[in-house]
Symmetry: C2
Subunit: 245 residues, 2 copies
DNA sequence: GAGTGGTCTAGACCACGCA
DNA sequence: GCGTGGTCTAGACCACTCT
């Protein structure tokens, strides 16, 4: 039984379970099931789609592997909800040198609306007259400044973002709850640079002091770029961790 | 049918496919099949182990997901062989700002044998009288120095490493070919620091210039620590990339 | 054509969560 | 006790590779 009919020998062959996967993903990303809601059971989906339970299972397993859904034995399959614990450690890989996970808190924050710059248009896929919100804030760990970050998002996509003040510590939970946008992946470029005047002041170091620059593009479920983030970390007492598998 | 007999209700339950997975992994790590060799077919393994082909498949799929084996339709399942292309980009995530992958080449290299320092003993799990090889080398991209790295390995485990000169650019291929040790994962700590005199000289920058410090512990198939590596990168024209999935 | 992994099915039974 | 996902099986057929 196939969903998109295809004769049984052409080259552009797509496995059934992947068609099911894509179908479920599109339903999730258009909000047919909201975060934290349960999907129908494997058995129900299989019956509804006219495929076997094993095929539905394979589709759901692949979504679970990408953390787009969570499966809980005995309960059901749920659309992933961004929570403090889960998201924080998935997208913010900062650790104190002692080994403890670090969660620097925002203390100062400004938000402005302005036309998008060229590179911002390019990375976010915006039109040339588009506007963006630019959030600049400093984060503290143990009462010391450790991070200065600037966040750029489309003003059209995240409407009235500037009316929500103060903005929460973890924006990704907020994007999901307020705008139905789930950040699913991100890619980062890391460099060591000397602090400029602005960064030096924010982090209480001298101009030229070595700081870690992390430039991030964050994507939603459909790999649409949502957010640009430029962070300067003071890595005296903490570090960025990476696991290569 | 179970491999390790277990009554069907106790808490410490291990799925059959995981027992098969562990068995195959232990055979691979002890060298029963060498890198690039084919494992027996699913059908043959299933018959030999007295389980169904679907169970063997699930075990092999999980090994393939961790890149410990590679599956090729129509050919067979092969123990992963570290090659220039595959390993290089898996463990060295360096990219030119232009977007091109960077493969800095070693130009200078020294190797010495000496007693292990305290932290080296700790991270590599060595005894207190153990000795290590320490390799220090500089790497160049486009005729400019971009990296100074120091590599620490157990002298007992990688015997006579110092007789192989010059050492190859990519050590992980060499560990596998020469010692049967496959690096399967690694974890890294990243900081921005000021160059000390030694690093500054090697990278042709001033003392105190910002450089990216990457400290790595690399593990074999059984997650035994094999190598300690401390790298200082000059990130003027290139950067470290991370994908958060 | 023979042999390999890849897909798909149907059904049995187990482990878990909850009422 | 029921419904959920998790494991395991047996077998059919498809896609790819090599001879």
């Amino acid at each position: 039984m196939t969903i998109t009919e295809q004769s049984p020998d052409r080259p552009g062959f797509t496995p059934l379970y992947q068609q099911v996967r894509d179908l479920l993903l599109s339903r999730i990303s258009t909000g047919a099931w909201r975060p934290a809601e349960a999907l129908p059971s494997e058995h129900a989906l299989a019956a509804a789609l006219g495929v076997s339970q094993g095929t539905v299972r394979k589709a759901l397993d692949s979504l679970a592997a990408e953390k787009l859904v969570e499966r809980r034995q005995g309960k059901g399959t749920f659309v992933t909800l961004h929570t403090q614990e889960s998201t924080q450690f998935r997208f913010f890989k900062l650790t104190f040198d002692s080994g403890e996970r670090a969660l620097p808190l925002c203390k100062e924050s400004t938000i402005t609306r302005r036309p998008a710059k060229d590179d911002e248009q390019k990375f976010l896929g915006l039109l040339s007259l588009a506007e963006v919100f630019a959030i600049t804030r400093n984060r503290f760990a143990e009462d010391r400044p450790v991070l200065r970050e600037t966040i750029i998002v489309s003003a059209e996509l995240l409407q009235k973002l500037d009316t929500h003040q103060p903005l929460p510590n973890t924006l990704y939970m907020f994007y999901q709850a307020e705008y139905g946008i789930s950040i699913a992946s991100a890619s980062e470029r890391i460099k060591a640079v000397g602090a400029d005047k602005d960064v030096a002041h924010a982090l209480s170091v001298e101009v030229g002091a070595p700081v870690l620059l992390v430039e991030r593009v964050a994507f939603d479920l459909t790999r649409r770029p949502i957010e640009l983030r430029k962070s300067f970390y003071l890595t005296d007492s903490l570090h960025y961790t990476v696991n290569l598998g």
